[in-house]
């Protein structure tokens, strides 16, 4: 992982993208870009190097599960940590995310402390 990890924030709500971006900056990760859905995110992931994905699930065009599956099946992308940040609170969805290879799962509404804890935990595990 580079000295300044580059984050990709994927959410169809611009308000939430902005909140996550600001929170990441507050916890020391100021290098972040945004995508409004999985299709845009995938295009950005293929165009440039990212070190961490923070993604919503429920989005138009391509949802977070679909994005996660594609990322995990792509040799060039499969090792990128993938943190789900979503309002989906069904146990079925949480289990599905874990089985598909999500690195972590945060349910909205969440706190800065929760985001910081999950990001740090994933980064530590990643090495």
């Amino acid at each position: 992982m580079t000295a300044e990890p580059r984050f990709l924030i994927v959410d169809d709500f611009s308000t939430m993208r902005r909140i996550v971006r600001n929170l990441l900056k507050e916890i020391g990760f100021g290098n972040a870009e945004e995508a409004e859905d999985g299709v845009v995110a995938l295009s950005m992931l293929k165009a440039g190097k990212f070190d961490f994905i923070v993604s919503d699930i429920n989005m138009p065009n391509m949802n977070g599960f679909e994005l996660l599956k594609i990322v995990r099946s792509d040799d060039a992308l499969k090792l990128i940590p993938f943190l789900m940040v979503t309002a989906e609170a069904k146990k079925e969805d949480i289990v599905q995310a874990a089985q598909c290879g999500a690195s972590g799962y945060i349910v909205k509404p969440f706190t800065k402390a929760t985001l910081e804890e999950k990001v740090q935990k994933i980064m530590t595990k990643q090495g």
Partner: protein
């Protein structure tokens, strides 16, 4: 085997015929009872309801953006204030060191220097507290995402309801095709988690569930 399929097909045909008859009966009953007009009114009002919900989503979104813009501006001001206070504190500390040598400073002057240094030292902590409050204000804007998702689902429901009403009003013949099962749909924010056991109520629920599965 072929006979079984033929029997099943015939059974399906019967079901469709009965559904068609029920629809026709319901349609006639509603018309005779005078509800047809009300159904049409309800159908006509649904696009208006959708527009009003879309308006709420747009206006609340704009309000959230305005708050986030204000938070960003306040943070910039706060940062400038902290930097200026740090700079002035350093300069006043130099003056304090000079005064401590008993040179060119009255006791009142020395006290003023000390209190000013103390004030500037406190600015950083106050700025941190203000930043925490600004973070809370920023986090509260997640209502736009959460309510927006609920509104989007209600709009989809209204659209579906409108379609059903239109069908109820204009269709009397049996369906031509077997109805397709809806694909699995994501649900969005849970508005009453305590009333259900298939959802988690908070982040602890997520962590406990994943831990129980070994993740």
């Amino acid at each position: 085997m072929a006979q079984t399929e033929a029997t099943a097909h015939e059974s399906d045909e019967n079901i469709y015929r009965r559904i068609g008859q029920l629809t026709r009966t319901l349609h006639d009953a509603l018309r005779e009872l005078g509800y047809e007009r009300e159904l049409m009114d309800a159908r006509d009002n649904l696009p208006g309801a959708r527009d009003r919900l879309a308006y709420i989503a747009r206006v609340t979104g704009e309000a959230a953006e305005k708050v986030l813009n204000a938070v960003d501006r306040a943070r910039t001001v706060q940062q400038e204030l902290t930097e200026q206070a740090d700079s002035l504190r350093n300069r006043w500390q130099a003056v304090a060191a000079y005064a401590a040598g008993g040179r060119a400073c009255t006791p009142a002057g020395k006290q003023l220097v000390d209190e000013t240094c103390e004030f500037f030292s406190g600015v950083g902590g106050q700025a941190d507290r203000t930043n925490t409050i600004l973070t809370d204000i920023m986090m509260a804007q997640d209502f736009h995402d959460l309510t927006g998702q609920v509104i989007r689902r209600v709009v989809a429901l209204a659209t579906s309801l409108e379609e059903q009403l239109v069908k109820l009003l204009i269709e009397t013949s049996r369906p031509e095709q077997r109805p397709q099962l809806d694909p699995y749909q994501l649900e969005g924010p849970v508005v009453a988690p305590n009333a259900r056991d298939d959802v988690v109520a908070d982040q602890k629920g997520v962590d406990d569930l994943l831990a129980s599965l070994g993740f």
